[in-house]
């Protein structure tokens, strides 16, 4: 989640509108200003330049010209022209103001201050000049002087000295600058009512709302600005920043549109840089940063991203030099450290994010954004007490910051969680569910730990936190600070957070076991590489390990993936990270896992280990492939894509569908043999397809109609090799296996079903009985304990069977205790009475 401090970067000032009588060439000036307001910058600039050259230097005309040039990215022209005019007419306050603003934009801070000091008491533009000066002072490390300006503005307002419509925006900004967030917001509401055509105000309001992490409200405000000026780059970029989490196509569109209007947009290039950093494309990030530095060589925002790029690549000398350069411009550059912290978060370097956020807060104890980042990431690295304390501080200053409010509510809700410890984990499970989930979760976590730490020859730093949330919004808040996350689980290196199986609606069933395994694999790969593993490889290995852990777990070649392969939509390795940030994300997960499969197949698993160690050493992907696999990225892409194409070559979705339809029809018509023939052919052609309208399910029914249990069992097993969520199939397989005398198989099938629906009483009852039958007493104990935790209505039965399990396990005292519990509920329960006598 990206936040921008509009106070530091704001270069927007309102138009100071004068009555028509004050304008020289009334009609022409008004028309030209109107063109600028509507976003027709080129036409407006031509007309306005003519007017200014001819001596019309009213605030409206000059500001409109300024906007028209700046919004088209004509910074050099603007600077040259306004400088020249300023020299020629030093008393033309609007010209001096515009010149100052261009100087500020292009990093000529001293020149900007000279202009601003000259006009700060001017009746028309003085207030605007003072607010611009405050921003320049902040940019150059003189925050306390800026505070004096803001406070004076507020003071003047309170004394009734600032009562023009055009003053309102400055008042709002001054309130924001002094952390009066509520009053700032109220002032923006007033502006909306009294000055509804003030597009700049809507942008500023959007920035405030985005700062308070209310992206939905921010977007509404930017849309209000665009309703006035549809080409306004600041508003379009505001949309791009705030839509990106939910509606990525719209965000992309807004960004592209902004860059079409202003190809030199500083804000746009900064946004691009942050995206490129996030997708680990450092050359592209550097290119975007350099575009900003070409316009403003003093841009500490751009240098912040440059520092981040150096940092993550281990370029210590370059990093230090860049930091020094920033601090030379602005010794109080908390923004630098906020950018570093934010970049580290997106690159999963949470400890480093904490360190950088701390430094930001040290430089500016009122940097609530950085403090929020610090707080949330302290929680992520397991420092919960300090994290909570930080959240309280942010909340006290800014009770409107949604991530802070949400996170505080979440930490309060932890009192409703049980805290458990195993050998390697500290676990939080909701009290309502922990009785039922604990035995399965703890067992699977330790199994994942033992299996993967041995396989990767790596012992992760612990204890590792694990949290399961029955409320999906709580999981999202724990992850992002806001509800609305589409993921099932997230790993922060030493902490795994995921949805509980009850967090999703009944039609959103997922396999919590494979999700847990996936996330734990991230613990291994993140820690093993000091978090330097690229996103694609980390996700790829997690899906690959899901497939290894259990039949059916992990992504397969479903229809979407097949179509991506056949449509040649797979990405080269060099670009694969980008696939995780747009609509290609699901295919990218699958592709990345196939890359892991291919590497293992050709070079062996040790090669994967070697690659991880190379990433840990700070190598880039090209070098990792070269040194680890002795192949270039291009060479790998060529081989890999050929291999993938071969996997998909024989599959025709259309033919599959026809075979499925024919088979289903035959089954409906009662012709099981014909159905089997069609459906078998479909399965043989496309065995990995297990989603809706798959051929397996009618094939299984056909076999059952024929009474061919062995064939039905085989088909079910094959289906479950690719499906991880069909609870019904797991239980059917178990029943058929039991009927066929394969009790061990029946047990395994029911155990697998528990990773889909662990709260299903009938499933636990069935499994419990099978386990007793198989004399697997400890596991049977688990089942009946779970049934009791799930408040089965048949408590007498559950206690009795639990007693049976203890008795079989040689634990007579436990058996006695539990059978007595059963008999207290059901005193006439004959089998329990008989068992009681055996245990006495």
């Amino acid at each position: 989640m990206k936040k921008s401090n509009a106070i530091l970067t704001l270069v927007i000032l309102p138009l100071v509108l004068f009555s028509d009588a004050a304008l020289g060439q009334q009609g022409t000036a008004a028309e030209a200003v109107s063109l600028a307001r509507k976003g027709e910058y080129a036409s407006a600039a031509t007309a306005l330049e003519r007017l200014v050259t001819a001596g019309t230097v009213t605030p409206a005309v000059v500001e409109s010209l300024y906007y028209s040039w700046i919004r088209k990215g004509e910074y050099v022209k603007a600077r040259d022209r306004f400088d020249a005019w300023a020299k020629a007419t030093p008393n033309a306050a609007p010209i001096r103001l515009a010149a100052a603003r261009v100087d500020h934009l292009t990093g000529k801070y001293a020149d900007a201050l000279t202009h601003l000091d000259a006009v700060q008491n001017n009746i028309d533009v003085g207030l605007a000049a003072r607010m611009e000066k405050a921003q320049v002072l902040i940019a150059t490390g003189k925050r306390s002087e800026a505070d004096v300006i803001y406070k004076k503005v507020i003071d003047d307002y309170q004394k009734g000295q600032l009562n023009r419509k055009q003053d309102q925006l400055f008042i709002a900004l001054a309130l924001w600058g002094t952390d009066n967030f509520f009053d700032a917001n109220e002032t923006f509401k007033l502006i909306k009512r009294t000055d509804p055509q003030n597009a700049e105000a809507f942008v500023a309001w959007g920035d405030l709302l985005a700062y308070s992490t209310a992206p939905d409200l921010a977007v509404e405000s930017y849309e209000d600005a665009l309703a006035i000026d549809p080409n306004m780059p600041e508003a379009l970029l505001g949309m791009a920043r705030n839509l990106e989490e939910d509606e990525e196509n719209s965000a992309e569109k807004a960004f592209k549109r902004a860059m079409e209007v202003n190809p030199n947009s500083i804000e746009g290039h900064l946004l691009d840089a942050s995206h490129q950093l996030e997708s680990e494309d450092y050359p592209a990030a550097t290119a975007a940063i350099n575009k900003v530095l070409a316009i403003n060589p003093q841009s500490t925002d751009a240098m912040g991203y440059l520092a981040a790029a150096h940092y993550v690549r281990g370029e210590t000398a370059e990093f230090n030099r860049t930091v020094q350069n920033v601090l030379a411009i602005n010794s109080q550059a908390n923004g630098l450290y906020y950018t570093l912290a934010d970049s580290c978060v997106s690159l999963r370097l949470y400890k480093q994010a904490v360190d950088f956020a701390r430094e930001a807060v040290r430089l500016n104890p009122r940097d609530w954004q950085s403090m929020s980042v610090l707080a949330v990431n302290l929680l992520r690295i397991g420092q919960e007490d300090e994290g909570k304390a930080m959240l309280e501080r942010v909340y006290a200053a800014d009770p409107y910051d949604r991530p802070t409010v949400n996170s505080l509510r979440l930490t309060d809700s932890w009192k409703d969680f049980d805290l458990l410890e195993t050998k390697h984990f500290k676990i939080k499970l909701s009290k309502k569910e922990s009785g039922a989930l604990k035995p399965y979760v703890t067992e699977l976590l330790e199994k994942a730990y033992t299996t993967l730490s041995a396989k990767y020859e790596f012992t992760p730093e612990g204890p590792i936190g694990f949290e399961m949330y029955p409320n999906h919004d709580d999981f999202a808040v724990r992850t992002l600070g806001l509800p609305g996350l589409g993921a099932l689980g997230v790993c922060f290196g030493k902490l795994v957070v995921m949805d509980s199986p009850t967090a999703r609606k009944p039609d959103e069933v997922f396999n919590w076991g494979s999700t847990l395994w996936h996330e734990f694999t991230h613990v291994i790969t993140l820690q093993m590489t000091d978090h330097k593993i690229p996103r694609w490889f980390s996700e790829g290995l997690s899906v690959y390990e899901e497939r290894k852990a259990y039949p059916g777990w992990g992504d397969d070649m479903n229809l979407r993936n097949l179509q991506a392969i056949k449509g040649k939509k797979l990405l080269p390795i060099a670009d694969l990270n980008k696939g995780f940030f747009d609509s290609r994300v699901l295919v990218s997960y699958y592709q990345a896992s196939l890359v892991a499969d291919y590497i293992e197949g050709k070079w062996g698993f040790p090669a994967i280990r070697k690659m991880l160690l190379l990433y840990k050493a700070g190598k880039g992907t090209a070098d990792v492939f070269k040194e680890g696999l002795n192949i270039s990225l291009e060479g790998f892409d060529a081989e890999f894509l050929k291999w993938v194409d071969a996997k998909a070559a024989a599959i025709s979705p259309e033919q599959y569908h026809k075979l499925f339809v024919d088979g289903q029809q035959a089954l409906d018509d009662g012709d099981a043999d014909k159905a089997i023939s069609s459906l078998k052919a479909a399965v043989a052609m496309y065995p990995e397809y297990s989603d809706d309208a798959n051929a397996y399910e009618p094939l299984i029914l056909s076999y059952m109609k024929k009474g061919d249990k062995p064939a039905a069992i085989d088909a079910l097993k094959k289906f479950l090799t690719y499906s991880e969520t069909s609870y019904r199939s797991y239980t059917l397989l178990s029943t058929l296996q039991e009927e066929s005398g394969d009790f061990a198989g029946a047990v395994k099938s029911m155990e697998a079903s528990m990773y889909v629906r662990p709260m299903d009483l009938s499933g636990h009852d069935k499994l419990g009985k099978l386990l007793l039958q198989q004399k697997q007493y400890p596991a049977a104990e688990r089942e009946y304990e779970v049934m009791l935790a799930l408040n089965t209505t048949d408590r007498a039965g559950a206690f009795f069977h639990l007693a049976e399990a203890f008795y079989g396990d040689g634990k007579k005292a436990e058996a006695y205790k539990n059978v007595m519990e059963s008999l207290k509920i059901a005193p006439s329960y004959d089998p329990a009475l008989a068992l009681l006598l055996k245990t006495k």
Binding site: P827, S828, L836
Partner: protein, 319 residues
Amino acid sequence: MAPEKDEGAGVRLRILIAILLFPMLAHAESSALIISGAPGDDEHVKKYTAWTESTRLVLVGEMGFNPGRIMVLSGEKSTQAEIKDSFAKLKEQLKPADTLLLVLIGHGSFDGEEYKFNNVGPDLSGSDFNKLLATLNAGRIVVVNSTSSSGGATEAMAGKNRMIIAATKTGFEGNDTVFYEYFLNGLQKAAADENKDHKVSVWEAFKFAVDGVERFYKDAGRIATEHPQISDNGAPMTGVVPQVPVLAGLTSLNVDRPVAVADAKLQVLLNEQKEIQQKIETLQINKASMLIEDFNKQIEDLILQLALKGQQIEELKKK
């Protein structure tokens, strides 16, 4: 004189048998009246017909009801006149120790003040049913009102020695209900027999059904539009609570026929077993007024006695 001695033993045996039979003669019977009202559409016809027939079958097949003591009024027969006529017959049939089970299947409605059961022709209200129930001389009355809005009738029908089960909490829960499906499931193969005494009590059946209803809505991801309630012996309506309502907890839907055997020794053991079971029952009723340690000690002792008694009975049976 051998014949005189044989005569004496025979008389003692007959007296013993009579004594054993006496409880049977004094035994309470159960009657049932199942009323399935106007169904509406085909889907409801199918559902209500299935429920009605399944009720009859389970009462006879599993609950021990005498088929002659089950009256069914469904569809066109569910008129006011037929219903009143059935109550008149019940008035003749029921004895003071008997139990009546009244099942209402179909649609109900509530106008804010009064519940109406949608039978064929003019509907009967909750008050109407109350008046009809008041004419009966039964020891216990169990009403299972499975209709929509049934909660609106409970207050009118509640009273001493009555257990009123409604599928809904109030008359305003007017959607179709699923409650009865789970109530029936609980009676089949004694699935609801929580205390394993081979009987399903009114409370056990209610609890089982409530659990089923809750799981139905949860699994479907829907908001529950029905919240079953019970009024026990005139008390206010309640859902499932930790403290078992006395009357509903003690009243079995199974027809209680005491076990009598020819073997005198075995009969003695059975009677002793019954005695221990009754002591346990009494202890359970008094649990709330005891220290938990005392309760646990006493009940564990009794349970052990019961187990040993059961063992003796089994050993004797084998001989």
